[in-house]
Symmetry: C2
Subunit: 304 residues, 2 copies
């Protein structure tokens, strides 16, 4: 039988041993620190405790529409002190991956973006050239001239070597047509993340993965995903922080993304919290595919 | 070994026997009658021959953006005489399926349309109520009020019982959000057709199946498809023409859609033409999944 996770809540000795094992904590946000607009009590104090013990804290989110600076504003608005350097979103993850890992030789290293300004900001921060994105020239209906120019290539940029598909609230037929033709001409296919839905107003709306799936359907290709649980995101985080994986713990509420991300990344530990999507019976079930190493009812239980 | 198709070209006895076996010919168009803007020589005369022998001719197309009347204009512009009653497109197929086969009890039988005017025209022809489609109210960016009203249902129509997804050149985040929420609330999921791409200017662009795939990805549901090779389309054709399947032959250039459509529909015969996508070696290959009953190099070979 698989080893069940160690329960830390209320066990000060176990909490101390747990905290001593790690130097870095990768923290999922929604479902861990807050839910929707509701900040969980004790979140700020728990983060203070970790920082006071010299731990590196990294907020890891699949949200691709916000840059780190924008996401930091969100953390501030929730009352959580943070610095931009502590934030790692899938837009930034994509930029790091393109600039520091993929490293396509110029000039054929331009990116066609299907997504919002957060992606553009992060690509700029890594000095990556791009087209598409929020450019109003692509926010319109397709015309007969577009069909012709896309088909014969005269309207395509020969230097595009990458298509990066994220969540695009302005997705349209023209952008999908451009993205498809770049892929058909051999561009690398990346996706910020593959979440099929996005929570909003306590309901679900189309997520980044439900945009890129159109391109998957047309090309038969799967993108390299730069969000959890893809290990390309872990590589990106490591590309920036150079941390020791054995001294790092992933904290999250979802077994299939957060905890799986930590386990497949061979981190020293994973901590599940019960304030979000996954429940205890998921890992207690016979043949549970993903079992965290530790769990607490809520993040603030780490304060003892 | 599977039976290879009978080759009819140049064999007048075989052609006569073939023609005598059928009363109805279901004809795919692009790749059979024409290619792009190029009408194949002898197409008009071959259709005249079939009609002179009292055969019923039906033009069967997966194109969902055009109504039958619009498609008839296209046939006329190609120089092909036809009547609206001889045309069967996937938009009309969907309308027939909804009105004559699905028959949801009112009032919860309204359709949310993701698609163009061809679908709307055909739904109207069958007296089906619908929303969405080409309504300008849906051709815009999503707003915070939309998120709220879609999430709490106040912006949704309680009488929508069906989501019909076709090719929508104006697809956007707002429409996908509406469609998803109707499906999440239990609406039936139909698709005019599942073609992943659409030929245009001798290149490929997103097809109807690359629009509906976003909803498949979000809901985990597969739609009932009303285009070839789906048998729901055959049921729709039968719902209108009441033909004898054993006396009907499907003619097409694609084994995986046209010929498969005819075989799975248990028609009396299938005729492949070599003027389109599929080539002879496809059915000659070991373990070929789809083998037509007859083939000709080109449709006009039927003139002998």
């Amino acid at each position: 039988m698989a080893q069940l996770p160690k329960h830390l809540s209320g066990d000060q000795t176990a909490i101390n041993e747990f905290l001593d094992k790690f130097d870095v904590f990768l923290l999922d946000c929604d479902g861990v620190l807050w839910s929707g607009d509701h900040l969980f009590p004790g979140t700020v104090e728990t983060l203070e405790l970790l920082r006071s013990k010299g731990k590196q804290v990294v907020f890891v989110t699949n949200n691709s529409t916000k840059s780190r600076a924008e996401y930091q504003k969100k953390l501030t608005s929730m009352g959580i002190p943070s610095s931009v350097d502590e934030i790692f979103g899938s837009a930034y993850s994509s930029a790091i991956y393109i600039a520091r890992i993929l490293k396509l030789p110029p000039p054929k290293n331009k990116v066609f973006v299907l997504g919002e300004s957060g992606i553009e900001t992060e690509l700029k921060s890594e000095g990556i050239e791009f087209i598409g994105g929020t450019d109003p020239a692509y926010r319109r209906d397709i015309t007969p001239e577009d069909y012709k120019g896309i088909a014969d290539g005269s309207l395509l940029d020969d230097n595009v070597g990458i298509v990066l598909a994220g969540l695009d609230f302005h997705v349209n037929y023209l952008k999908l047509s451009h993205a498809y033709h770049y892929l058909a001409r051999g561009a690398k296919f990346l996706a910020t993340n593959l979440d099929s839905t996005l929570p909003n107003n306590h309901a679900f709306f189309p997520g980044a993965g439900s945009i890129s799936i159109s391109l998957v359907n047309m090309t038969g290709q799967q993108p390299i995903a730069l969000g959890k649980p893809s290990q390309a995101m872990m590589d990106s985080i490591e590309g920036k922080f150079q941390f020791d994986r054995k001294r790092t713990c992933m904290v999250g509420d979802r077994l299939d993304t957060d905890i799986r991300f930590g386990i497949e990344g061979k981190l020293g530990g994973t901590l599940a919290v019960l304030t979000g999507v996954s429940k205890k019976d998921e890992w207690e079930a016979e043949g549970a595919p993903v079992i965290p190493a530790y769990y607490v009812e809520k993040l603030s239980d780490l304060r003892g």
